[in-house]
Symmetry: C2
């Protein structure tokens, strides 16, 4: 593929990112109570005032990352928005009297009252991402310490004792390993160790090594399938749970080789797992996932990153061709030329079936992060070609 084509992709990524950032700056900021509205219609209208905690944390993280690493976003209004979101999170996300001082809500009212809590670790993961990245741009050491403390709690829940998450112990509920958990933890290890050194970092590297071993257990059937859930012995599970695949996860997996202390060369995960977009392995998967045949925005975002990153490592033209295919589909089906931002939910045939721009799982995250990462990777490829 020609340099001109790569330059054209970079230009389109850049333009689209600018538009997406503008959309969220314009519509999502709650100037009255702080934090961000997350339920935003196709034209920017707030259709529900609820504030989802995953998305508060992710938006803080994304603003800070843009502010810190892309010159054109190094602007006071970006920093201010991130700080406002961070303050809202610190003040309201953690649930008083929940048994643990670190358990976070899943959903808050506009003024910050807890409305729902999940018995999982994900709200807390995005809390860590937000606090650590915000600490990096503000230099606030308290905030960094808070991220570290929350991380300790997460590792405790995952590796030592999950009872603080609030799930009842049931006799038939044998331990299941979900790929989403070590993937998220590994992502946090990357966040917390970047450009740092010392004892803390060594501790996180050990956690990272554990995550990698866990993740590799999900590679099953002689390397032909990556299963979302396996037994604690790393074996395939019976029934629907064992057949679940999540292409969004899978696409994030085999990309960036790094060597850990343990000496194993493994893929580092660049994405986050969220819900949806599951498909068959011969038989039915779980039936709460009625959306299995739909096309969701976020695995397409992950696919764009994955193919471009794979190409930049291997220079294999077929990978750029795949990127190009996903790009064409994504930009012509998900991107909304009329009102900006992307639709999130299409039918198998590519028709928009839910037209909102923000909802409980769709916020200022997968789309801008994809555009940001693709722009960065294209920068890198083009810079090398020019030099």
């Amino acid at each position: 593929m020609s340099v001109e084509k790569l330059q054209r992709y970079r230009e389109q990524m850049r333009t689209e990112l600018d538009k997406v950032v503008e959309f969220w700056q314009k519509y999502s900021h709650d100037t009255q109570y702080g934090g961000f509205f997350t339920c935003i219609g196709k034209d920017g209208k707030i259709y529900d005032e609820l504030k989802y905690v995953w998305l508060q944390g992710r938006q803080v993280w994304m603003y800070c990352r843009l502010y810190r690493t892309m010159e054109r976003f190094n602007k006071p209004e970006i920093l201010e928005a991130a700080k406002s979101g961070g303050a809202f999170l610190r003040r309201f996300a953690r649930i008083p009297n929940s048994g643990s001082p670190w358990k976070c809500a899943f959903c808050l009212t506009r003024d910050g009252k807890a409305l729902k809590v999940q018995r999982t670790i994900f709200s807390e993961c995005f809390y860590v991402m937000a606090m650590d990245e915000l600490a990096r741009v503000t230099g606030d050491k308290d905030m960094q310490a808070e991220a570290a403390q929350m991380m300790d709690q997460l590792v405790h829940w995952v590796r030592v004792d999950p009872s603080g998450l609030g799930k009842p112990q049931l006799s038939g509920d044998t331990p299941v390993c979900s790929m989403a958990v070590p993937m998220m933890l590994l992502c946090l290890v990357q966040q917390l160790t970047e450009a740092r050194s010392g004892e803390e970092v060594d501790k996180y590297r050990e956690v990272g090594g554990w995550c990698v071993k866990q993740i590799l257990q999900h590679l099953q059937r002689g390397g032909t399938a990556i299963l979302e859930s396996v037994s604690s012995e790393g074996k395939e599970l019976p029934g629907c749970a064992g057949r679940l695949q999540n292409p969004g996860d899978t696409l994030c997996t085999p990309l960036k080789e790094i060597s850990l202390d343990q000496g194993c060369s493994i893929p580092v995960l660049e994405g986050q797992n969220t819900s949806g977009f599951c498909f068959y392995l011969g038989q039915c998967v779980l039936f709460s996932q009625l959306e299995w045949s739909m096309k969701l925005w976020w695995p397409h975002c992950e696919a764009l990153i994955a193919y471009l990153m794979a190409y930049s490592h291997t220079k294999e033209p077929a990978l750029l061709e795949r990127f190009s295919q996903v790009y064409d589909y994504t930009f012509s089906h998900f991107s909304d030329a009329e009102n900006g931002e992307w639709f999130g939910y299409l039918t198998q045939q590519g028709k928009v079936t839910l037209d909102f721009k923000g909802g409980p799982f769709k916020g200022f995250f997968h789309v801008p992060r994809c555009l940001y990462m693709c722009e960065k990777i294209l920068d890198s490829i083009l810079n090398k070609q020019e030099s």
Copy 2:
């Protein structure tokens, strides 16, 4: 419409009911551990051994009801299957050490170990239905007493104190009235009072009156919309929660006029609320409901019952015409001529998108109950015309 046409409908309902009963008798009985398999593929194959408690209770109820009220099903093998299911439920459904001796699991392993528990009342509701109906056919007074005790617990959770359900108290989680709750309770009142009298019945009638008042609060916007959730003051809620409609519920509502002790003439609900099949009121509903545009089997079952029942009360030809339309669509799209039973999940365009016959929410219930009730109503219409 001619008598011949009504007779033809009755004949088709009868034939289909026989086939559906045969399907579940053939494939769902677990002769090793008792109870019923609930995850059954299109051709009868068990694709997961998990046993969902709602469906255990419903299958017991349905078998008993057929045994008790339809001569051709008054057979020992039907009774034995119901008793086996009832024994499995009594032995395994209730969760030891859950804080309440009456809390039931949502999902069990094949050998009866609890795997999941919902923080709602529905497993317990179907437990009551199963126990009471089984007591009616066996004459087992202990079982009837158990149904009554569970009902007392349910009423306590709903009207006095929900804390035993296990939901954490959150400051932003203000009380919301869900139509599914009084609808289910009213259904249990019907079950527990049928052909009985005395103090217990008076107590249930009082509960029934309360349910009716609750249900009527869901009639909003000047009677033009039935909303699934309203505030405890009977007002429309803000945001997505307030816009949720559930046609499956709605279709069950305005059908059979009865007079309660309170003197109000109200519609009695003939259906149960389950998940799915939600649609817009101008704006987005909750986004966990990605399936809003799909066509699900159970609201179609409810629609068949609703239109036929409405016709039998009013003799309005337009209602029989509506029944006829739903009948044509349902029997040509959901019913599986090849392997028997019905598919559950179609796209908006009518294509089967999940082809199993049994899953976590689809068991031996909506389809046979619909065919059973339609056959009964057609019997009644035709008998009146002949006499």
